[in-house]
Amino acid sequence: TGDSSVLRKAVAVAQHHDAVSGTERQHVANDYARQLAKGWDCCQVLVANALSLLGGTKCPFVFCNALNISMCPLSETADHFTVILYNPLARRVAWPVRLPVRGSSYAVTDPEGQPVASQVSLDPTNPPNPPHPPLALGAPGELLFQAWAPPLGFSAFGVKQLSPADPWEPPERPSG
């Protein structure tokens, strides 16, 4: 069961001036982060339940929390997946999607099944066979496309790999 009250309580606790300004001891800061992370996990279950209800499906949903350092096990290994965008604003938004991938070309389709312009930009700091382990052990390339979502709503984009999968397996992930 999903439960948004865990995050609500964690955010309420983090209204303390220490949490807002970072004037607490390290172990207290770690505990604020732990509570927020736990609240985030419970909300992801809630969003997954909502998506299952709306889509009439029980398929598993994957939340990639490390997209800002180009890490997402699903997009790095799957040759066919769906990207769902939830827009919390009361107006339509366009949003650039960047996902770490191993292939060099993909077909992206919008919610109406129409093709969407996309490209894979190879990240030279993450070559397929890195001479030295880069800071973020990510995939060799990033899939870019411009997505959009309706007001207070979802939209789903299909992604299919076109190029043969380059021989690349995600390295062991650093824990944490």
């Binding site: 889509g55 398929c59 769902i84 366009a94 490209q119």
Partner: protein
């Protein structure tokens, strides 16, 4: 590329070919431009001395000089131009880099910076700033006596008029950051800091977040920069600030995923 620049239908952004640093932003739709330099600087924090034992801390910035030191006077660069994005990658040091991006249809310049882990040396402690110097804008009137005050969402610099229209350079932050306009025409935002000495204000440990591997935190964030007339700026930066604060969340599903046509608000409820 002899002319180091990126552009879309709204903006052209020029870089100094010698230093690789930002040099000028041109608003193509309205036909004006502004010389803008941007880089990463650091302040040496105070460890306290005989005159004043107060060390820098989370409450008190108190650098031991009001002149920031550049992390590097030039950056190694890599230019990427594709139909979906034009970006310049800048590398200032082993722990300070940035990507400046322009995408089709977006009237703002995105700066994605990555700073850390800040190497701490005995006795020295550093606070990092990304700073923007724009023309001869007027110094911001900071409301805190220290001149450095929290910037929770955006900062503006008013720049010299163009055809009697006041220009405005707006910087949107994706989180609260300490910031100030110390010198006329400059804007400073603190993106990272690391202190090795307690400030004796009760916490009894320095503000030195070692991170999970003990080497110090690596921080990545974004600043969005808009250049327009002051009259037109609010229409641009207010919706953008909302999108930064309440950005769409991305969920993935293997295979064809759920049959979520484009479900909109009314359809949802």
């Amino acid at each position: 590329d002899p002319e180091l620049q990126i552009e879309n239908e709204h903006l052209r952004v020029l870089f100094d070919p010698r230093t690789g640093l930002l040099r000028e932003i041109q608003n193509l739709a309205k036909g004006f431009s502004l010389p803008v330099s941007q880089g990463f600087y650091w302040y040496n924090a105070s460890a306290g001395n005989t005159q004043n034992p107060q060390a820098s801390g989370a409450y008190i910035f108190r650098p031991n000089s009001s002149t920031p030191i550049p992390v590097a006077k030039c950056a190694t660069t890599r230019l990427l131009k594709t139909p979906l994005v034009q970006e310049l990658h800048q590398n200032f040091s082993a722990w300070c880099s940035q990507v400046l991006r322009l995408r089709p249809g977006q009237p703002y310049l995105e700066l994605e910076w990555t700073v850390g882990p800040i190497p701490g040396t005995a006795g020295h402690t550093w606070a990092h700033l990304g700073t923007l110097g724009a023309g001869q804008g007027t110094a911001g009137h900071s409301w805190a006596h220290l001149g450095i005050a929290p910037r929770s969402s955006s900062s503006h610099l008013f720049c010299p008029p163009w055809q009697d229209e006041k220009l405005q350079l707006t910087v949107l932050t994706d989180r609260s950051q300490g910031g100030g306009s110390i010198l006329d025409g400059s804007l400073e935002l603190m993106v990272h800091r690391r202190l090795l000495k307690d400030d004796n204000r009760g916490v009894t440990e320095p503000l030195n977040e070692p991170g999970s591997d003990g080497r110090g935190l690596v921080v990545r964030g974004r600043h969005l920069v808009l250049l327009d007339t002051a009259a037109a700026s609010a229409d641009q930066h207010r919706p953008l600030a909302q999108e930064m604060t309440m950005s769409p969340s991305v969920v993935l599903a293997p295979g064809a995923g759920p049959h979520l046509r484009q479900v909109s608000g009314e359809g949802l409820w």
